[in-house]
Every structure is written in structure tokens, then in C-alpha cells.
């Protein structure tokens, strides 16, 4: 592996993390859109807000990470992509602005009308942003971004069959990831009914995304033969893995094994992203620009690798802290009074879920050790505490 390949691999790790974490946040927002009216949608909206509130900003930084690594490590590739695809990127950027600020505003205002307006802005932009980012990925993957500044068509480069397929798949995948993640969150919060609600939606989404992906094979073959050849050639094992993991996550979701379903769903997304990377290797812009051609000078790449290594040492424990803190059931002593727990106004206190949530508040030391291995996956998934809770619930 060359230095340039190591840097772009690091960028792809960042892209994967963005797809999994940022993607789940967007997906959660799209479930907010379809949650229904004020009364009916209240429990799921509250769960969504509770789940993404503390983490969305950190998850969002993965996108910035991808951009800065791309423009420093592979400046011509970034310049070509950003100049040709500027319309799709501008629309995605507006979506990002609307999503983040509307979420923060809704969180801060108390007026119900304003909450509804900001909530709609948050939810709508949560659908549009991954769509446009997906079209960008589709545009690049189908080889419509030529090397050089603004040499591609500013419309056709993203508004094309593969681009639209990328956008639709991105929206669907985000929604599926979010549904799977929220099932676990709902169960952890002692809301089995809400977990079932997201389980149903997750299963339906999975079928839809699977159908789109199957249709996508035909679309890519017709529209981007080079990409199709890569995906069915060198990248075939990863594509198959993605399909198997996707079906597996559905089965796990069906059987309410939410922790494993998270891992499987994440694996499916990861495999398809790395399959894409492998399909177009060694090109960074298919048929246009190779990784080595686009790469910055050696001293820059080395400086980047060193700073990536040092940065990871600081970053990973901090990320662990963040997810561990907020994937843990809220400590009992912090619940100030009856009826002011997160979901308490909606779910009566006598609901079977609530006592379970309390009981699980202090996971035993023994189970802490036993599930250390799952913890590692949990850092990546933000999923671990719920699993422990379930085993406590079974006993």
C-alpha cells in the first residue's frame, strides 16, 4: 500500500463513519417526517430527538473530515468534484444548514407552532440532504466527473440514472439504519411498543431498499458499464457480503435481535461503500484520474498520516466517551420527579417498560467484562448498552 492509498483509505474510513452515524441521524430525521401528527408522532419524535441530540454534531464532523482529507491529500480530485457537481453540493449544503439549525431551534423554542415549523424543516432537510449527497456519489461513481475544473456537465453529472439511484439508495439506507438503531434505543428507554413501531418500519424499508438495489443492478449496467464491471468483478465478494449482511440484518430485526441487527446493517453499508471503492480502484475519478495522479506531494501525505494517527489517539477515546455516555440508560437519580423522564408524559409510569429501564440502570461489573468484545463494536455502532440491558431483562 502506498502512502497515497493509506491516506485515501483513511478518508474512506471517515466516509464510512459518516454514512453510518451521520446517515442514521439523517434517517432519524426522515422518520420524524413520517411520524404523523403532533399527538400520534410525539413518542417517536421524542425518541428521535433524544437519540440524535447529543451526537449529531460530532457525527456530522465526519463529513468535514472527508472533505479536508480529500482536498489536502487529493487536491485535483476535490477541485474537479466540487467544481462540476457544485449544484448538487450547494443543495446538499443548504440541506445541512436547514437540518442542523432547525433541529437546534426546535430544541430551544417552546412555542408549539414554531416547534412544528422547525420540526418540518429538520425532517424535510433530513431527506433531501442524503439524496443530494447520494447523487454526488452516483455522479462520481458513474464516471461523469472529468478531471480538471468544471469540465463536466453541471446538471447531467449528478441528475442521471446512477446519480438518482445513489440519491434514492442513500435516503433509503439512512432510513433503514436509523430504524434499526432506534429499535435498540427504544428498547433501552423501556419503550417496547416504540421499538416494534420502528421494527415494522425498518422491515418495510429494508424490502424497499433491497428492491431498489436489485433494480439498481440493471440501471448501473445500462448507465455506467464501467462501474458495473467493477462491482461484478473485483468487488463482487463485497457486494455479495453487503447483500447477505442486509438480509441478515432484516432477519435479526424480525427476531428482535436489535443489537446484532445494528452490526449486520452497518456491515451491509460498509461493504457496499468499500465495494464501490474497490470497483473503481485505482481510480479516484473513474477513467479520469488515478489515486497516484491526484495525490499531493509526499511530505504532505506523510504529514497527514502522522496527524491522522495523532488525531485518532485523541478522537477515538472521546468518541467512545460520547457514545457510552448517551447510549447508557439515564441514571435514576437524575430523573427529577415523577413524569419528567424522557418519555414519561406519553407513556404512563405503570407501563411495563419503565421498571425494566430502572432496573438496568447499573449494569453489573461481571457483564461489563463479559461484553468487552461487543463493546469494541459498540464504539463503532453506539449500540452496546442496550444489549446488556436485554440480557438483564431476560434474567
Amino acid at each position: 500500500m502506498t502512502v497515497a492509498e493509506a491516506v485515501i483509505a483513511a478518508m474512506f474510513v471517515g466516509l464510512t463513519a459518516y454514512a453510518l452515524f451521520g446517515g442514521a441521524d439523517f434517517g432519524a430525521g426522515s422518520w420524524d417526517l413520517f411520524a404523523g401528527g403532533d399527538v400520534r408522532g410525539a413518542p417517536s419524535r421524542r425518541l428521535i430527538e433524544h437519540a440524535i441530540g447529543p451526537v449529531w454534531e460530532a457525527n456530522h464532523v465526519w463529513l468535514i473530515f472527508v472533505l479536508v482529507v480529500l482536498w489536502t491529500g487529493f487536491p485535483p480530485a476535490f477541485a474537479a468534484v466540487a467544481s462540476t457537481l457544485y449544484i448538487a453540493l450547494t443543495l446538499a449544503a443548504f440541506g445541512i444548514i436547514a437540518r442542523g439549525s432547525a433541529f437546534a431551534f426546535r430544541h430551544t423554542v417552546t412555542n408549539p407552532v414554531l416547534q412544528r415549523v422547525f420540526g418540518a424543516g429538520f425532517a424535510l432537510s433530513s431527506v433531501l440532504t442524503p439524496f443530494f449527497l447520494g447523487t454526488v456519489a452516483g455522479g462520481i461513481a458513474s464516471g461523469r466527473v472529468p478531471a480538471g475544473i468544471a469540465t463536466g456537465d453541471v446538471i447531467d453529472s449528478w441528475l442521471n440514472p446512477t446519480g438518482v439511484l445513489g440519491g434514492v439508495l442513500a435516503v433509503g439506507t439512512c432510513a433503514y439504519l436509523a430504524a434499526v438503531f432506534l429499535c435498540g434505543d427504544a428498547r433501552r428507554e423501556g419503550e417496547p411498543a416504540l421499538a416494534d413501531y420502528f421494527r415494522r418500519r425498518g422491515l418495510v424499508t429494508a424490502v424497499a431498499v433491497g428492491a431498489v438495489a436489485l433494480a439498481g443492478i440493471g440501471i448501473i449496467r445500462a448507465d455506467a458499464p464501467r462501474l458495473a464491471a467493477g462491482l461484478t468483478g473485483r468487488a463482487l465478494p463485497l457486494v455479495v457480503l453487503s447483500g447477505v449482511a442486509g438480509i441478515g440484518s432484516m432477519a435479526l430485526l424480525f427476531r428482535r435481535r436489535y443489537g446484532y441487527a445494528r452490526v449486520a446493517a452497518a456491515l451491509a453499508v460498509t461493504a457496499v461503500l468499500w465495494g464501490w471503492a474497490l470497483a473503481q480502484y485505482p481510480d479516484v475519478l473513474p477513467g479520469q484520474l488515478t489515486i497516484e495522479e491526484a495525490a499531493a506531494g509526499r511530505s504532505t501525505l506523510v504529514a497527514m498520516l502522522v496527524s491522522l494517527a495523532i488525531g485518532s489517539v485523541l478522537l477515538l477515546p472521546a468518541l467512545y466517551l460520547l457514545y457510552a455516555l448517551f447510549q447508557r440508560p439515564h441514571p435514576v437519580h437524575a430523573v427529577p420527579a415523577q413524569g419528567s423522564g424522557e418519555l414519561a408524559p406519553v407513556i404512563p409510569a405503570g407501563h411495563p417498560g419503565r421498571p425494566a429501564a430502572r432496573r438496568s440502570a447499573g449494569p453489573g461489573q461481571q457483564s461489563r467484562v463479559r461484553s468487552a468484545a461487543v463493546d469494541v463494536a459498540g464504539v463503532l455502532l453506539g449500540a452496546l448498552w442496550r444489549r446488556r440491558r436485554r440480557s438483564a431483562g431476560r434474567r
Partner: protein, 457 residues
């Protein structure tokens, strides 16, 4: 007042305005990202040490404001990183490996900041008091580090170093040398101090208005005093830093300095000009201080100062914009210095803020005034570098995206930022007015809807 040279195309004009608008918006929020967490953390720390309930309410209120400001800052910063390539692909294509490098480091700083902002804002009742305080420290450190990296990238555009050009291609790029260029030290310090002043004076002005409306309780007084003290310490420091950076500009970017001073003729014993309009290579109607400029930039009344005549007209920045915004920045800066001196005098005499309502009125406008000063400062350095995007290396017009239709992006960005500005101000005002929830948990999602409508007082 021509803002740009006649040769500029509409798309270049639009791209420059779009960048200016996006940066000008984001920079205000960045100032809060850099400096506000320190104020919040100080209030929390004092309150925990002294058991001061008013300070605790203040810390909680501020942390809510911090949540809103950080969110809007994070997303408006993201669009900037898109714009770097959408508007200036020529710059990124050729110089991304040097210019972009500090942003990689900034990415990590921002990452840590975002993580700990999440922990701090949502951790009020999940963490022990000590752990909660500690979780705020990385926000301060990474906020300042992030500012350093971003400004280091900007300073590279002013004094590009760390590479060799061979037939227009960058060879032997050394990103560390690029980051540590001659402008870095003065620019980063100048901006970080400015960020402290923006956050301090804007926060203080909110409570000055409250005091003018008759609120004199401890909560309001502390809301005024904590940020005002920080701002009062930062202001005289900024005057010294200002002298430092002006000298650095004189040494490394003489044409920018000439535009800042509206100086056409190079020479010795040059006068300092305040105000006035630059018409036909001459500054009309300015207040002149003999030998002032030579004294300031060379520390010698007979020192030599390079004028605009040292470069051909097409390589000169639009003088009026640069000169007037520079004067505006310095003028407001000295206005704040006067407020600071007034406060210091009163505190020294009788351990209290001045009794005069005029003092509160002055503080009330100081926040917005300093935002204007900071924007004027950015206008000075950015417009003062024109027509270069990379000083004496690359022209701005050679960096702009050549894709069709770029101009419409400007209108879209104007619309989006107008809406965002109005909503942000509205939400923050609502937040400031809403009576505080003294005992309720920090985060709205942890409270029942009813408690939010009827605050506990």
C-alpha cells in the same frame, strides 16, 4: 465605490460576494465557539465553588445559547468547506496540499469540540459536577486550536510559503512550513483576541440592555460583569496586537498597507491619514497626522513607506473599501478602549461599574459595534489582498470556478443566510427573555412539555 476591478466577470463577482457573505456570517459564530465556552465554564465553576445560585442559572442559560450558536456555527462552517471547492477550485487544485493541510488539523480540533459540546450540553445531569466541568475544558482548548489552524490557512494566502513553483506547478510542498508562515503568529493572535472581544461584548450587551430596563438583580449584574471583565482585559491587549499585525503587514504585504492607509506615493516621513476618500490616486478630505504613518510602521518619523504606486494599477486593491474599513475597525477598537478605561477607573475608585446610564448604553451597543469592527477587519485583510487570492502568486480570477450559472448561487446564499440570521436572532432573543428554569434539567428533551410552558421560578 467600486468594490472590484472592472475586469471582473459577473461570476467572479458573485463568487467573491458569496464567499464574503458565508465567511462573514460564520465568523461571528466562530467567535462564540472560541470564546464563549470559557465564559460558560467560568460561571459554572464559580457557582459550584461558591454555591451561587444566580451564577448557576446564568451558566445554564448560557449553555443553551451555546448549543444554538454551536449548531448554527457547525453547519455554516460546513458550507464554507463546500464553497472552498465550489467557488475556488483553482486554488484548491493547485495549492490544496499546502493550503488545505491546516484544515485537516482543524478537522480534528472541530471534531473534539463537537464531541465535548455534546457531552457538556447534554451532560448536566448525567455527569458529576466535577466531570461536567472537566468536559468543558476540551471545548475551550479545541476551539482555540481550531481558530489557530483556520487563521493559519488564511495567513498562508497573505504570505504564502512552503513550496516551490516550477512551470506553475507546486513542487516540494512543505505543509508545515506553509502553516507557519510570517503572518501566522500575528494573524492568529489578532483573531483569537478579536473572538474573545466579540463574544464578551455581545454577551455583556445583552445584560446591559436588561439593566437599562431596570433589572439589577445578581443574575443580570453577573451576566454583565463576567463578559465585560474579559472584554476589558482583551481590549488593551488587542491594541498592542494591532500594532504588531500592522507592522507585519507593512513588512510582508506593503501594497495592502498602502491601501489601508490610502497612500499613493511611496516616500519617507509619510503622514497618517484618517478617513477621507481615495479619488484619482489621491486621498481627499482625510485628517492628516504628519509623519504619523512612518512613525507607526517603521517606528521612525522619517521611515520609508511603500505606496500604491509601487505596483501597476491592475494589481492594486480597491482602496476606499480597504482604507475605510480599516479606519472603521481601528476607530471602534479605540471606542471600546475608552469604555474599558471608564470601567477600570470606576472599578478602581469604588469597586463598581460606572453609575451613569451612558455607560450601560455604551456597553449595550459595544457588542454589535465590535462585530462591525471584526467584519471590517476581515474586509481589510481580504479585500486588501485583491486582486490576489494567493498574494503575488495566484490571481483571484484564476481561481474561480468556471462552471456556468455560478451567479445564481449568490442569490440562493443571500436568501438562506437572511432566513438563518433572522431565525437565529429570534430564537436567541426568545431564549434570553424566557424566565429560567432554576431546577429543571438543562435539556428540553428531558423536560415534560408542561414544565417548559410554565417555568419554575
Amino acid at each position: 465605490m467600486p468594490v472590484l476591478a472592472a475586469a471582473e466577470s459577473v461570476d467572479l463577482y458573485s463568487a467573491r460576494w458569496q464567499m464574503a457573505l458565508s465567511l462573514g456570517f460564520h465568523i461571528i459564530l466562530s467567535c462564540f465557539g472560541v470564546a464563549f465556552p470559557s465564559l460558560v465554564l467560568f460561571a459554572e465553576w464559580r457557582s459550584r465553588r461558591r454555591g451561587d445560585e444566580a451564577l448557576m442559572r446564568l451558566a445554564r442559560k448560557w449553555s443553551k445559547a451555546m448549543g444554538v450558536l454551536f449548531a448554527v456555527g457547525a453547519v455554516s462552517g460546513t458550507i464554507l468547506s463546500f464553497e472552498m471547492g465550489m467557488l475556488w477550485p483553482g486554488l484548491m487544485d493547485r495549492f490544496g496540499e499546502i493550503y488545505g493541510f491546516p484544515f485537516t488539523l482543524e478537522g480534528f480540533a472541530f471534531f473534539l469540540e463537537a464531541i465535548f459540546v455534546g457531552i457538556y450540553l447534554y451532560g448536566w445531569d448525567r455527569l458529576s459536577p466535577r466531570a461536567h466541568l472537566l468536559s468543558g475544558l476540551p471545548i475551550i482548548v479545541s476551539g482555540i486550536a481550531g481558530a489557530f489552524f483556520v487563521i493559519a490557512a488564511n495567513s498562508w494566502m497573505n504570505t504564502p510559503r512552503g513550496f516551490t513553483l516550477r512551470d506553475g506547478e507546486v513542487v516540494d510542498a512543505d505543509p508545515i512550513a506553509g502553516m507557519m508562515n510570517p503572518s501566522t503568529a500575528a494573524e492568529t493572535v489578532h483573531m483569537i483576541v478579536a473572538a474573545i472581544m466579540v463574544a464578551s461584548f455581545l454577551t455583556a450587551s445583552v445584560y446591559a440592555v436588561a439593566m437599562l430596563r431596570g433589572r439589577r438583580d445578581r443574575y443580570t449584574r453577573m451576566g454583565l460583569l463576567i463578559p465585560l471583565t474579559v472584554g476589558a482585559i482583551a481590549t488593551p491587549v488587542q491594541v498592542v496586537v494591532g500594532d504588531w499585525i500592522a507592522n507585519m503587514v507593512a513588512d510582508t504585504q506593503p501594497v495592502k498597507l498602502a491601501a489601508m492607509e490610502g497612500l499613493h506615493d511611496s516616500g519617507t516621513g509619510v503622514e497618517l491619514s484618517l478617513g477621507g476618500l481615495y479619488i484619482d490616486d489621491e486621498l481627499v478630505g482625510a485628517i492628516k497626522i504628519p509623519r504619523g504613518l512612518s512613525l507607526l510602521v517603521t517606528h521612525d518619523p522619517d521611515g520609508y513607506v511603500q505606496g500604491l504606486d509601487s505596483v501597476p494599477p491592475e494589481l492594486r486593491p480597491p482602496v476606499n473599501v480597504v482604507h475605510l474599513s480599516y479606519n472603521l475597525m481601528v476607530g471602534i477598537g479605540f471606542g471600546l478602549l475608552a469604555i474599558t478605561a471608564w470601567l477600570a477607573l470606576s472599578w478602581w475608585r469604588r469597586r463598581d461599574i460606572p453609575r451613569s446610564r451612558w455607560f450601560l448604553r455604551a456597553v449595550a451597543v459595544s457588542g454589535l459595534a465590535f462585530v462591525v469592527a471584526m467584519e471590517a477587519g476581515w474586509t481589510t485583510t481580504e479585500v486588501g489582498r485583491q486582486p490576489w487570492i494567493v498574494y503575488e502568486i495566484m490571481l483571484t480570477r484564476d481561481a474561480v470556478n468556471t462552471a456556468p450559472g455560478l451567479r445564481y448561487g449568490l442569490w440562493a446564499v443571500i436568501a438562506v443566510y437572511a432566513v438563518l440570521t433572522v431565525l437565529s436572532i429570534y430564537v436567541l432573543r426568545r431564549l434570553a427573555r424566557r424566565p429560567d428554569e432554576a431546577v429543571a434539567p438543562q435539556e428540553v428533551d428531558e423536560e415534560p412539555a408542561a414544565a417548559r410552558e410554565e417555568p419554575v421560578r
